[in-house]
């Protein structure tokens, strides 16, 4: 079952003759439960692609469909709600809220949507990410790897259709990176979550089920 479909996606900046083609006709399908890595050098358009998938940016042409909904057909307000319910984000710099502890950070998206927190599920996710004894800590007192794991738990706890990770290990050393991605992979496998991850690290990409290479705004393999 396709959970994410990208068709003929183009993003151009500027106008002729000084046009920059960040994305130049990208076609991509991600199946449910898949862990896909997008690999490319900087400037290859991988971040632009991820932003489009998450509805954070508007394409010049083409479409992105998540769970059968075309993102460009929604207005800003609808998009905000759609993102909150269907897309989980993981960023390079974690983006945790410093005045909330790990647990409060994790349950934020659920509370924002006005739902009651399913404590058992939060505990399960935290357990899978080896965070059980860190839930009371403030982000400032956690290591980089732990902070990123909290961010992963936050992205997963609202059971989104798809998790988009933008260089999740960009700020971590190679050991911690492998640790974090190992846990991410296992957690998603256990919860049958779909992930699309951007990375420029081949070692990290190797842990994905599928590697998508992008170059000059086009998919090469």
């Amino acid at each position: 079952m396709n959970i994410l479909q990208v068709t003929e996606l183009k993003k151009y900046y500027g106008e002729e003759p000084n046009i920059t083609k960040a994305l130049d006709g990208v076609d991509l399908c991600v199946e449910e439960g898949e862990f896909a890595a997008i690999v490319g050098t900087s400037g290859s358009g991988k971040s632009t692609l991820l932003n489009m998938m998450g509805g954070l940016d508007v394409p010049t042409s083409g479409s992105v469909t998540v769970r059968g909904k075309e993102l460009s057909k929604m207005n800003d307000e609808q998009l905000t709600v759609f993102r909150r319910r269907n897309i989980g984000f993981i960023f390079q710099n974690y983006n945790l809220i410093p005045i909330l502890n790990a647990y409060e950070n994790i349950i934020m998206p659920v509370e924002l949507d006005g739902n009651r927190v399913n404590v058992r599920y939060v505990e399960e996710v935290a357990g899978l990410l080896s965070l059980t004894d860190r839930l009371e800590y403030m982000p400032g007192n956690l290591s980089g790897g732990q902070q990123q794991r909290v961010a992963i738990a936050r992205a997963l706890v609202s059971k989104p259709a798809i998790v988009l990770a933008d260089e999740p290990t960009g700020n971590l050393d190679s050991k911690t990176s492998a640790d974090v991605i190992g846990l991410l992979k296992r957690t998603c496998y256990e919860l049958n979550q779909t992930i699309v991850m951007i990375t420029h690290n081949d070692q990290i990409a190797q842990m994905a089920d599928r590697i998508i290479r992008i170059e000059d705004g086009r998919i090469t393999a």
Binding site: M1, E32, G33, G68, K69, M74, E77, Q78, L79, V81, F82, R85, D113, G114, N115, G127, L128, S130, T132, S143, G145, K159, K175, T176, A178, D179, V180, G182, L183, K185, R186, E190, N192, Q203, Q206, M207
Partner: protein, 346 residues
């Protein structure tokens, strides 16, 4: 009181009666206290007005409630008929959108389970067909040898050769059956791995014991770098099997005089077991293939083996919540890294 069996209409009737009676009582009380007719009329008008608004509110509320119920029913109906339609109100901050979103999630979970069941059945079917396919060759060979042996005009030397060939085929069959019994047990969930916190050093020693003789024959140098007490939750019997399979490959595909290195390192979430050899290496585009059932590299077809070891290894490791990685450079050797989680959470 049983709220479920109380109809909305009856509640309404009772409450409106109550409101009218209370209003009448208040108006009467006002008349008795003041004796002023104008006050009574004003009071009655106010009461009538509020009753009208009250009725309006109730009617609207009833309409909303019934449309809410209709929407939920139609969503459920669509799910039953397996024909879920897009709804224009899905991205709103309303209770309806939230409930329908949840219902859809439930629907998807059920679909997924259905798919998983179908996949498990397919997996089992392909396992059965793999097994029958793999056992056919040695069995056919054995039959042929048997027939030849039954011929009387064979010299002693020929007979011995055929018996030798027979032995090797029997060995192969034996190995195959053993491997496949293990696989099918693991895959069908007959076996549950028992994770206990125990010393990995002993497990490693057990796995290494299985390859010493062979490695010695090929004059290989084996180095192990592991603390003597390294406690981690794992299933000893199966983890030994997993590590042994990698080591066995390392011995098999490394030329005589090569080196095998095993090292263990504790990371924050995982313990890493590296098994490095100085063999011929594995090309990068085969990294995923080598873990497939019955896959064998083309160049090594003359070596013994059926291509099930690494597959089993990966199954065993992932059943314990770990994962396995390979990195290799052609001609220099291969490193398999097994990652086992430090904490037992499953």
């Amino acid at each position: 009181m049983n709220y479920h069996s109380l109809s909305f209409r009856r509640i309404l009737r009772h409450i409106s009666c109550g409101v009218i009676l209370t209003d009448a009582a208040i108006v009467a009380a006002v008349y008795i206290l003041t004796g002023n007719r104008t006050a009574v009329i004003c009071g009655a008008v106010v009461a009538a007005g509020s009753i009208c608004w009250g009725i309006l509110l109730t009617v609207i509320f009833q309409k909303k409630l019934s449309s809410f119920t209709v929407e939920i029913c139609s969503t459920l109906e669509e799910m039953i008929q397996d024909n879920v339609q897009e709804k224009p109100y899905m991205e709103e901050e309303t209770l309806l959108a939230r409930i329908v979103h949840r219902l859809r999630e439930l629907y998807r979970v059920m679909l997924r389970q259905k798919e998983q069941n179908a996949r498990a059945r397919e997996e089992l079917q392909s396992l059965v067909s793999d097994i029958s396919h793999q056992t056919r060759t040695p069995v056919t060979n054995l039959k042929m040898i048997q027939e030849t042996l039954q011929e009387e005009n064979l010299t002693d030397i020929e007979r011995k050769e055929f018996l030798k060939a027979q032995e090797s085929q029997i060995d192969k069959l034996d190995f195959l059956v053993e491997a496949m019994v293990k696989t099918s047990r693991l895959e069908t969930g007959v076996i549950t791995l028992e994770k206990k916190t125990q010393n990995l050093y002993d497990t490693l020693a057990e796995a290494l014991a299985g390859i010493f003789a062979k490695a010695d024959q090929k004059q290989m140098d084996i180095r192990v770098n592991c603390p003597e007490t390294f406690m981690i939750a794992h299933d000893r019997k199966w983890t030994t099997e997993a590590i042994f399979n990698i080591l066995d490959n390392a011995v098999k595909y490394t030329p005589p005089g090569g080196r095998i290195g095993v090292s263990v390192e504790r990371w924050e979430a995982y313990a890493k077991i590296d098994i490095a050899d100085t063999g011929k290496g594995i090309p990068e585009n085969h990294y995923a293939l080598i873990f497939q059932r019955f896959y064998r590299e083309k160049e090594v077809h003359d070596e013994d083996g059926v291509g099930i070891g690494l597959y089993l290894t990966r199954e065993i490791i992932s059943l314990q919540g770990g994962y396995i990685k390979v990195s290799s450079s052609s001609g220099e050797g291969t490193v398999f890294s097994i990652f086992l989680p430090n904490e037992c959470v499953i």
